[in-house]
């Protein structure tokens, strides 16, 4: 949570809140709709956004939209999720360090494109194009699973 852009005290609160939210809505978790890790990531992310910005609760999207989006379940959904997760892992670790870096700064430190550019001393366009290429590679790795 500290890596998600919160200070130590807030990070601890957020970690507790995440665990609580996961516990409270565990009944909503359905394996065929996506991996537990994705679901926990989304809960943690939304809580951090809530905490750090407060004013944009409507940024959280109706969950059923995403169920529809990921709804094309394969015969063995859990296995497919495992495969998807493994492929994302492989694609991520195959990224050149400069592309991996911008992805990590966005996801784990919650930095905007502009903040990443500032942190790395790069032009904004470079940050965005590195991120674009990174996602294109990940998307290509998942192509036949979508």
């Amino acid at each position: 949570m500290m890596r998600l852009g919160a200070d130590a005290g807030t990070a601890e609160d957020l970690a507790h809140e995440t665990l609580f939210a996961v516990w409270r809505s565990a009944a909503l978790y359905r394996a065929e709709k996506g991996s537990a890790a994705s679901w926990i990531f989304a809960i943690a992310r939304n809580l951090r956004i809530d905490r750090l910005r407060r004013e944009v609760p409507w940024q959280q999207l109706p969950q059923e939209l995403f169920e529809e989006a990921s709804g094309e379940t394969l015969p063995d959904a859990a296995l497919a999720e495992k495969e998807r997760h493994a492929r994302v892992h492989t694609a991520l670790s195959g990224l050149p360090p400069e592309q991996h870096e911008v992805v990590v700064l966005a996801y784990l430190e919650g930095l905007s494109h502009g903040a990443i550019a500032q942190r790395l001393g790069l032009p904004l366009g470079t940050v965005k194009s590195r991120m674009r290429i990174a996602y294109q590679k990940i998307r290509a790795a998942l192509e036949d699973l979508r």
């Binding site: 409270r24 809505s25 565990a26 009944a27 909503l28 978790y29 359905r30 394996a31 996506g34 991996s35 537990a36 890790a37 994705s38 926990i40 990531f41 943690a44 992310r45 939304n46 956004i49 910005r53 407060r54 004013e55 944009v56 609760p57 409507w58 940024q59 959280q60 999207l61 109706p62 969950q63 059923e64 939209l65 995403f66 529809e68 989006a69 990921s70 997760h85 994302v88 991520l92 992805v103 966005a106 996801y107 784990l108 430190e109 919650g110 905007s112 494109h113 903040a115 366009g125 940050v127 965005k128 194009s129 991120m131 674009r132 996602y135 294109q136 990940i138 998307r139 998942l142 979508r146």
Partner: protein, 211 residues
Amino acid sequence: MSITHHLDDATLMSFAAGALPAALAAVAAAHVTMCARCRSDVVALEGVGAALLTALPGARIERAEPEFAAGLSPSQQRGEASAAPMQSPAPLARLLPLGLDAVRWRRLGLGLWHHRLPLKGNGALGLLRVAPGRIVPEHGHGGAELTLVLRGSFHDATGRYRTGDVADLDDSIEHEPVADPGPDCVCLFASETPARFRGLIARLMQPWHGL
């Protein structure tokens, strides 16, 4: 609704990461609710977050997965799934509880109206209404901006933007969008930097207010 202009991949990644500035995230969220393709991208990109999270030292989410799922009784899974506490109204409905027709527009003249939407923190968020044939004000001088068409359409050198389409253009692209014939074109507009948005209004007002 056939959407032809989508969010940029870098914007989608930042949005899924929870790293997009608040005003831009509002427009991105609204587009994503209207666009199945970008929704599916967000799902894939949340998977990237999951992969990064489980790769952190000490993370055990994946190993916990089978027990986690197995620990739920079928009744729990069935019973509460419909009462989803995570559900929230669609972003637009929250922004505009009474719909577009109830918006109290501020007239800027030259066939343009503006309505500011409340936003704490950085950036500016608002609705822009443009009469047919009028030019959608050009603003780009750096700083990220997103424009989502909610009603009507406009066109520029990069194509025609209809309901659901989002303009997520690089500021290097020069364009002069013009609202199409038909109903007034209404857009949800976000800018990363509030100063620029104030600047836009000031520039809009310039010809007749002598600013």
